[in-house]
Amino acid sequence: MKLVTAVIKPHKWEDVRAALETVGVTGMTVSEVSGYGRQKGHTEVYRGAEYDIALVPKVRLEIVVDDGDVDAITDAIVKASHTGQIGDGKVWVAPIDSVVRVRTGDRDEAAI
């Protein structure tokens, strides 16, 4: 079992969700987050005063998946969220020890 986490541009979220549906993903956790990477935020001007705004709004999605689905899901996210511009985000995969479905008590693969 793996946890796939993606941080993407907010306006790409609907595209990514549609792409994930086509590869069979039925659920995920989504949160609005902020952060920065190499693009180092952006500049805003108020009455002539420039402010460096370090944090850029992003969307983070987290999906728990079977080992065999990792590549298809990662590829789907990357393809759907790619713009080629700075700030496109990142996708990373981490191992998971165990999963429990709260409603049924199912464990691990059965709970995904």
Binding site: V45, Y46, R47
Partner: protein
């Protein structure tokens, strides 16, 4: 004249709206989310304190000699009408109209010292400042005193007594009180520009009361009902029109400067342009024609858009640009009367561009100079007196955590705990007990 009296009832209520809520919203939106309540409170407190002081001795200090033109700094017996002694209720509306001017002038200053001043110090400052700075200047300008009566500088609705006065006071206090913690180092951007846009629009609306209500009838008009009506109609039309077109021109000028200097036309620029245009046309609305009004608005919008950037170069934390908008805009409007004034206007004076020579410009400069000096000295005396007695500032830690909680025990926005899980808090000591 019935129509005039009815209009003054409306105009007075319109100017009240300018302070609460218009100015409070305009300033509140520009402040940070942790200090918006305190910022708004400074306007509301000004209403409460200055209003009562005005009734007690403000009207007396300004108008104890009537509008006779004594050419002085104060009336002969400045406290003769203390508590409106001898003023009958049929004249109350004129007292109230002037009261609203004193209130908003004092409230305007608060933008220069946002986020860092103890409420108690502001409460002590207000009655002292209107007594030493506003009431004498109101007498000098509106009461036929030194500036309006003797020098003869034109100031229809308060470019000197209101805007230069508040702008200088903001400058002096910002210098005496000092910068906010982190000024120039960390972002202090406006937290809610929708409030600022709403406030600017309401200020514009209320400003019609401020400018158009400032009509003063000539001796000839007062002696002849037909002349009175003619002056009322022609002058209110002029002031309403000039107030409108000058403000429009100022929006466009501010946005153009922004677009050229910084690449984008902003909503804060539009809101600021509105106020800059209104400030500049305030002294000039009765003196100029439509072309002059558009020119004054455009020049004020452009100059103020540039001037608000200066504070970073000189390290002055005039937090919400009281100096850049009200002092600069007030000076621009007051001086440009000397160029654009037309003899058909309220004072019957031609400016330089209409064949009147340099005399009017000299009068205007003298009026502005006296207002700057008077306000600067009076504010400095009070500012230092408070600094070395009760002190101005909350602690640095309170300031960083937010003045709203430190001074009022409140926070403006409850977003984190509005979810279904209640944010993990509990109710302490309420009648409902524990949930």
């Amino acid at each position: 004249m019935d129509g005039y009296y009815a209009w003054m009832l409306v105009a007075t209520a319109l100017v009240l709206l300018m302070t609460t809520p218009a100015l409070a919203l305009f300033y509140g939106g520009m402040s940070r989310s942790k200090s918006v309540l305190n910022m708004m409170m400074m306007s509301y407190i000004s209403m409460a304190i200055v209003g009562i002081v005005y009734v007690l001795w403000g009207w007396s200090m300004s108008f104890a000699d009537g509008f006779s033109g004594d050419g002085q700094i104060l009336p002969d017996k400045p406290f003769d009408l203390f508590g409106l002694d001898g003023v009958t209720s049929e004249n109350y509306i004129y007292v109230l109209f002037q009261l609203t001017f004193a209130v908003i002038t004092a409230a305007l200053i608060s933008g220069a010292i946002a986020d860092r001043v103890k409420l108690s110090s502001w409460i002590v400052f207000l009655p002292l400042w209107v007594t030493l700075s506003y009431f004498p200047l109101a007498h000098m300008v509106f009461g036929g005193g030194l500036i309006g009566g003797k020098i003869g500088a034109q100031d229809y609705a308060g470019g000197t007594a209101v805007h230069i006065n508040a702008g200088v006071a903001g400058l002096v206090l910002a210098l005496i009180i000092g910068k906010r913690v982190g000024f120039g180092r960390e972002p202090m951007k406006p937290h809610n520009l929708t409030l600022t846009m709403l406030g600017a629009g309401l200020l514009w609306f209320g400003w019609y009361g401020f400018n158009v209500g400032s009509i003063v009838f000539s001796a000839d008009s007062l002696a002849d009902p037909d002349l009175l009506q003619a002056q009322f109609f022609s002058e209110t039309g002029r002031t309403f029109m000039n107030t409108t077109v000058a403000t429009m021109a100022a929006i466009l000028a501010w946005l153009l400067i922004e677009r050229l200097l910084h690449g984008k036309a902003t909503t804060l620029g539009a809101a600021s342009g509105i106020v800059a245009g209104l400030v500049a046309i305030t002294p000039a609305c009765g003196a100029v024609d439509i072309t002059g009004a558009i020119a004054i608005g455009a020049i004020a919008g452009a100059v103020c858009a540039w001037a608000v950037g200066l504070k970073y170069k000189i390290g002055l934390d005039d937090s919400l640009d009281v100096v850049g908008v009200h002092l600069v805009g007030g000076i621009v409007g007051t001086l440009l009367i000397g160029l654009f004034s037309v003899s058909e206007g309220a004072a019957g004076v031609d400016g330089l561009f209409h064949g009147g020579g340099w005399g009017s410009l000299g009068d205007q400069a003298a009026g502005a100079g006296i207002a700057i000096l008077w306000s600067g000295v009076a504010t400095a005396v009070i500012g230092f007196a408070i600094k070395y007695t009760i002190g101005w500032r909350i602690t640095a830690e309170e300031e960083v955590d937010g003045i709203d909680f430190a001074e009022h025990g409140e926070t403006a926005y409850d977003l984190a705990t509005s979810g279904s899980f209640g944010g993990g808090g509990s109710i302490l000591g309420s009648k409902e007990g524990t949930l």
